[in-house]
Amino acid sequence: MRLTRRTFLGSAVGVLGIGLLEGCKEKLPRYLVPYSAPPDDVVPGLARKYRTVCRECPAACGATVRVREGRAVKMEGSPDHPVSLGALCPGGQAAIERLYAPTRLGTPLLGGKEVAWDRAEAALLEGLTGTLAAGKRVVVLSRPEHGQLGALFGAWLAALGQPSSQVVSFDPMARGWLREGQRRAFGTTATPSYDFAAARLLLSIGDDFVEEGSPVEAARALGEHRAAGGRSIYLGPRLSLTAASADEWLSVEPGTELTFVLGLARQVLERLGSRVALPPAVADGLRSRLAPYDDAAVAARSRLSKGTVAELAAALIAASPSLVVGPGRVAAGSDAAALAEAVYVLNALLGNVGKTLRFLADPPRPPGMEQAEFIRRAAAGEIGMVLLHHADPLAFGPVQAGLAAALGRVPIVAAFTNELDLTARQAQLVLPDHHFLESWSDVTPRPGVQGIQQPVMTPVLGTRPAADVLLAAARALGKTAGLPEGSFGEAMRQAFTEKEIEAGGRFEVVTPLAVALLPSALGSLPAPAQRRGPGMGLPLVVAPTIRHLDGRTPRSALLQEMPDPLSGFSWTGWVEFHPTTALALKVKAGDVVALEGPGGRVDLPAHVTPAIRPGLVAVPVGDATSLLDGAGPIGLGVRVTAVPTGLQRPLHLPEEGRHQHGRELARSVSRAAPRLPPQDPLPSMYPAVEHPDHRWGLAIDLDRCTGCGACTAACYVENNLPIVGAEDMQRGRSMSWLRIQAFVDETPAGPEASFLPLGCQHCSNAPCEAVCPTFATYHTQEGLNAQIYARCIGTRYCENNCPYGVRRFNFSEWPREGNARLGLNPDVTVRDRGVTEKCSLCIHRISAGEEEARLDGRKQLRDGEIVSACAATCPTRAIVFGDLKDPGSEISRRAADGRAYKLLGELNTEPGVVYLARRREKA
């Protein structure tokens, strides 16, 4: 071989390369392993989709799970399911991350030690035999399971010779006051159904429906309501996401919401006079009961300016049909049931019942055991064994102290769980259950919707389904009367048709019940709410947040990592103060504050914001439960003291980043004239960029965006974004491709929050492309700003030159522990340390869609055929993906709207992302 300069250099680098190769931890797999016997319906390399139900919260959205080579890689909303209609919240998006989480339990534990399943099942059997022999009770304490699984619990207990009603439904975050208020007002406990879209004016009494309850369904309804030109007003102590989505934020002195609503009812009744749609006797009764709540009295108590209530009453009457919802958790004190009653009365006065507020009869449910009865029987020593099924009362701290103490008196506690939660740690026997994506069940979140939860893949760990463990135990005891012959899965297949399983459930339209206001409504009003806790303390507001919904969603690494849209905190809870309150308490932003309430103490970093009423302390649900006592609902009602500890926690987001400083990033227009001033095209030194076939882009309607962050979570899962952890998040090393940039600006009318979902803008004149020394980033013919990781050498010039700050640098080799690799999307490259990355506009989805169309012999792509992950999951359809070159597409229609603008348009970067300005009362 002739040695030339070229071959010499080649060999030299080659030797070096071999050295580097040795250092390479990850190699391509050496073997190709085919199936021994192939499943009929699996084509390697292509995804299969299964319908199931998301069980991350009781809203139980229908889900479509994408499965590649037998492993679930992405979950999306099921378009056929009436609750989700194709969308999911951040919690649902994070389900995949939790499925493969290293914290999941795969081996049974007996007395805290790992044992084989034989041993664990023998221990369960032993416990059951002993309990039954001693004549004690066996009780199942489960998360709400009202379908086939709940029925199986009952049948199983009956087979053992126990009353089938010994099933306690553990639902600590249920908003029981709503049902109670409804019972008092209408005499029904049927499920209320709200029609946001039909309501011309929506008044929320502290109901954070974007954060709590059924967030996907509510957010979508809110989007429709806004698109139809509806207005909304939020009354609550803090500017939550729901409040930020409303047109107006009002706040009253916490605890005086009832007075306010009664005053409002009085005004409405007065103004309507004889036009009120109630029998005269009922109306007269109300008139006399509401008499003390005149404008002056209400304004004085709730510290609102005089006339506000009257103005609101007039607006509600003018905008018929309207809708009043609530009270939510932030308004739920000891008088919550009466407040709920008052809200229902107000709706009845306004004539909303049957129009925007309907009641649907619940399907019959087998009788269960009340929590109070369980506690009583446990105290009496009647209960010999408890089977916990995805119930973690100890996580609720002092709030559930009674239940925790009762569990402590039960001799044997066995826990079916996915993770070693606080209660499972105390259990003698821990039986790891399948994840909901690996097992069967069915859920009825509301009448007419029965979602079927089916396994979409074989289990990743050595878990066993709880139902089958129970069935096996019954068989071993020889007590199988009334139980299914085979497995629970087989029983489920018999209970539903193949078609129903494929569709994801049984869905039917339910006829609303006819209800009328009871003459006794508002008959007995409670004394003003009393607060518990230190006398010197400030009222505590328990705030539901979207990351952890109502606090019931178990904590996932992805949800922890995503900064809270409003406060910007990640990997920690926080406590909110108004600047004046903070000044009085000598607290600065980022100070760690010791909070002490009747339930206990918790230390949290301070978030000082104008987005809360002065004189209050607000803490997100998860941490607030440590401060509460068990005397009232998880809501208002206690006082806490706040003392700075002297420690500091650096804020993830610099304070300045939360204000727009008049830069008009998240723009707004007046509702009367929803049009932005026209912009003349700017001159450019560069030739115009051509896009011969397509110009892919996003249109983001800020009028619909609630800032929920489902898009962010979907992007994490779809694009294999690493979770960097608390430390790196504080260093500003978030890898999020699409973030919710939230601004809270002071306006003459008060603080105003706006959300800007911000990812790569896919500019035609991209500043990043010009500075890349290796051409790792370039503009494709289809309008994408592409990032080629293999070319990137990590100079970070692009990141510095990007005016939108959306490029991310891989500072480390982010770990993926345990089974986390199984959840990676095989269609997207996993980036290495030292390269820059950013939104690809889901280029793999674009290519797949184009390939599919080409193979079908179609030249044209249908609008909506290709959808990016963020657009697919957006509950309000704020984000739309499409081809800007297709004049008939939804994105083109939006881009032509008078509200459309380009972010930092003065830079003439010509982005492919279009924003639509938010409509406000006064722009």
Binding site: M1, T7, G10, S11, V13, G14, V15, L16, G17, I18, L20, L21, C24, K25, E26, K27, L28, P29, R30, Y31, L32, V33, P34, Y35, S36, A37, P38, V43, P44, G45, L46, Y778, T780, Q781, L784, A786, I788, Y789, A790, R791, C792, I793, D827, V828, T829, V830, R831, D832, R833, G834, V835, S840, I843, H844, S847, E851, R854, L855, G857
Partner: protein
């Protein structure tokens, strides 16, 4: 992707390995098998013959990207493409059924092999190993010969179901052998074409296929 920076070095490393190998014999020539058996000194060791103990860890192969003429490995069963695709004229797609449906061509399952081998060549050692594995419901492991790095997204179906452009004389259909070589003549398959970006782009240019980076890099 596992090596962003090292990737360039790797390609060169592969080239360096090539430098000390004898030139690959022409496909079908008698030297082809000999080259496979006779390993050059600088190549990593390769397990020989049908594996007696398949569970024993095999030495690393040191897979290199775009390595033309990489010594052909022998898997757990001495499978001959020449016997199947050459002598018996079984079309590629009969076994690699997913090539036209999916980005992945797929390796046939043991049960698929047994579809023929229940009746054919039952006495051969390889078939006996196969039969035992299928009976025990254990898959056979196959040595990987053709390697596309995991940051490249190649679609078999897109290439095999391509539509020829009417005005382009070079735009005939892509066939399996264009990339995989004439496996019908090889007893032990080896990579004869370099799986490099240059090779992909050369063909894409000739056939007027899209040439943007994001066609393959995602």
């Amino acid at each position: 992707m596992s090596f962003a920076h090292t990737r360039h070095a790797l390609v060169v490393a592969a080239a360096a390995m090539l430098a000390c190998q004898p030139p690959a014999p022409a496909p079908g020539s008698p030297g082809a098998e000999a080259a496979a058996a006779e390993l050059p000194a600088c190549a990593p060791p390769v397990e020989a013959g049908p594996a007696g103990a398949p569970s024993a860890p095999l030495p690393p192969l040191g897979i290199t990207i775009g390595a033309q003429g990489e010594p052909a490995p022998v898997g757990e069963v001495a499978f001959s493409h020449r016997a199947h695709a050459g002598d018996c004229k079984i079309p590629c797609l009969a076994c690699h059924v997913f090539a036209t449906q999916s980005p992945v061509a797929g390796i046939p399952s043991g049960r698929k092999c047994m579809g023929c081998h229940k009746f054919v060549a039952k006495e051969k050692l390889g078939v006996r190993i196969l039969a035992a594995r299928v009976k025990a419901e254990q898959p056979l492991r196959w040595e990987r010969v053709f390697v596309v790095p995991d940051f490249i997204y190649f679609s078999h179906r897109a290439h095999l179901r391509i539509e020829a452009k009417a005005d382009c004389k070079d735009c005939e259909k892509v066939e399996c052998k264009d990339c995989h070589g004439d496996v019908a003549s090889q007893k032990v398959v080896r990579q004869e074409t370099p799986f490099t970006m240059g090779m992909c782009l050369g063909c894409h240019e000739k056939k007027r296929a899209p040439r943007g980076c994001t066609v393959c890099h995602k």
